[in-house]
Subunit: 315 residues, 2 copies
């Protein structure tokens, strides 16, 4: 029996997804439960165990060589614990040890969800073959991860690439994280919607006041909706340029719901980047959409485990 | 004859320094020329050749295994060229090839001056034994470099860690680099002095309007001088927190003339860091002064060459 598969878990505030993943990044078996996010920690872990139970019942389980977990953050890969903002029952929860109890002797690798998405885009998506890249998600939050020198850069705790919470406006609005003027505070979907409303934009007859509705208005030429996207793009550009200037990446991959607005976001983002990514070694920075969709978390968790354990080449 | 030394060059707008450096980071032989910064490129290279000529005449030269160059930036290590802002005669100047002509078969390794300082502090200074650190210089400009996963992170072009030109104030004052609100634009010595003057600070009888003079006033309790240092510290804190959040460093080493102000800078810097480095994985960030002085560039150039060529352990 060859051990040529990774088991993957993608843990978020809405759902807990699992899969068996092969060396080509294909999802062979899937399992999923809603996250009982409002329940106590043991109940949330019970849902994880159910997902793992389904995977263990699949014939491919005997081929699994490692388990990769991508989790909503903050995570602490060095301690094996997670404290997802949207799962209050888990604070310093020993997820690696608890998963280890379920899966027996298999090695368990934990990374943050931004790092997992980055592993996926590097292994199978838009950053494939690139040695230095920033991958990010612009959605309800803003997260990301880094590929440096051809390898996933996780940082000691698995949180590296946390671009949503760098300040690009040191005197700016307070962010729920405790800092001010964070990229996420300006560029996330809810903040795009909030800003549009505060500038006078009003939702249509359906009452939809989401960033997607603002995007629809922007696509129709609404100047306030366009202005809110432009400001988000400016903050993303400042954060992306800072990242490139600090670590030298030549590619930025942007996914997530807000990136679904397409050129409404990418157009002003590329224009603002010309104003912030100005030094010679960052002026050629490319910005492209992510290629992998909702499965990126699972693919990336598998890829991160495979990379960390040397199961197969993922870069 | 063992090959157990590195030759080092430290190239700046004021002086061109050279040395032979041993595996303990000791400078065995030194040479130096003023930089003919206003002259044509060939004349500047002539001064470099004179420095190398002195080193080659030293008995230790036969033991040299590699040549390390730390240069004022921008540099392009991948192309082997430099374009130092303060040496207008060198634009895309093929320094690696020109030094190669002088030194014959020896390998030549080029890094930016911020990376060189970082290599020095990691090898022999305040970041010794640390696997993840940001080292920086706050002086006429603001530069830096990164140690990640126990190794110097140069980036493909040798410019990584360029913290002086990340924007922490996306709507802020235009920076000579072309961006806005860069850390250097707020926190460098000349900008500390400029801001103090604009807020009403006046130099003493000696007419000294430098950052050092502002520091002296601040030490005497002058509120405007203190405010200018506080604003510099705030910008440094935002930039340092961004760096730690992006790559996960646990240590920041700060050197350079402005850092010579001691607690006038480090006090407000640590206080402001509490406001920006807030996520769990960066909240424990340490900030310490650099240990190496004016020789850091030479020690680091040697260390970078030794590290890149595997001459001896430098981490």
């Amino acid at each position: 029996m060859s051990h040529d598969l990774a088991a993957a878990l993608d843990i978020g505030g809405t759902k807990i997804a699992g899969a068996l993943v092969d060396a080509g990044g294909r999802l062979l078996v899937r399992a999923q439960r809603p996250t009982p996010a409002g329940q106590d920690g043991a109940t949330v872990m019970g849902a994880v165990a159910e997902v793992l139970g389904e995977l263990r019942a699949a014939p491919g389980w005997q081929r699994v060589a490692a388990v990769g977990i991508g989790s909503a953050g903050p995570v602490d890969a060095s301690a094996g614990t997670v404290s997802p903002v949207n799962i209050p029952g888990w604070r310093g929860f020993p997820l690696v040890a608890e998963v280890g109890k379920v899966v027996g002797d298999l090695p368990v690798v934990l990374v943050g969800d931004g790092v997992a998405m980055t592993a996926a885009e590097h292994w199978q998506g838009a950053a494939r073959g690139r040695d230095n890249a920033l991958c990010m998600v612009v959605s309800t939050g803003v997260g990301g991860g880094l590929v440096l020198n051809g390898r996933l850069h996780t940082g000691p705790t698995g949180n590296a690439g946390h671009i949503g919470h760098i300040s690009v406006d040191l005197d700016g609005d307070p962010c729920p994280c405790g800092a001010r003027g964070c990229v996420e505070r300006i560029a996330s979907g809810p903040n795009i919607a909030r800003r549009a409303l505060s500038l006078g934009w009003r939702p249509g007859a359906d009452g939809d006041a989401s960033a997607a509705a603002v995007a629809a208005s922007a696509a129709g030429g609404d100047p306030v909706a366009l202005a809110s996207f432009d400001r988000a793009a400016q903050a993303l550009a400042a954060g992306i340029a800072a990242t490139a200037t600090l670590v030298e990446v030549s590619l930025v991959v942007v996914g997530g719901g807000v990136a679904g607005a397409g050129e409404l976001l990418f157009g002003p983002l590329r224009r603002h980047l010309k104003g912030y990514a100005v030094l010679s070694f960052v002026a050629g920075l490319e910005v492209v959409p992510a290629r992998l969709g909702v499965d990126a978390g699972l693919i990336g968790a598998a890829g991160a485990a495979a990379g960390a354990r040397g199961l197969w080449a993922v870069g």
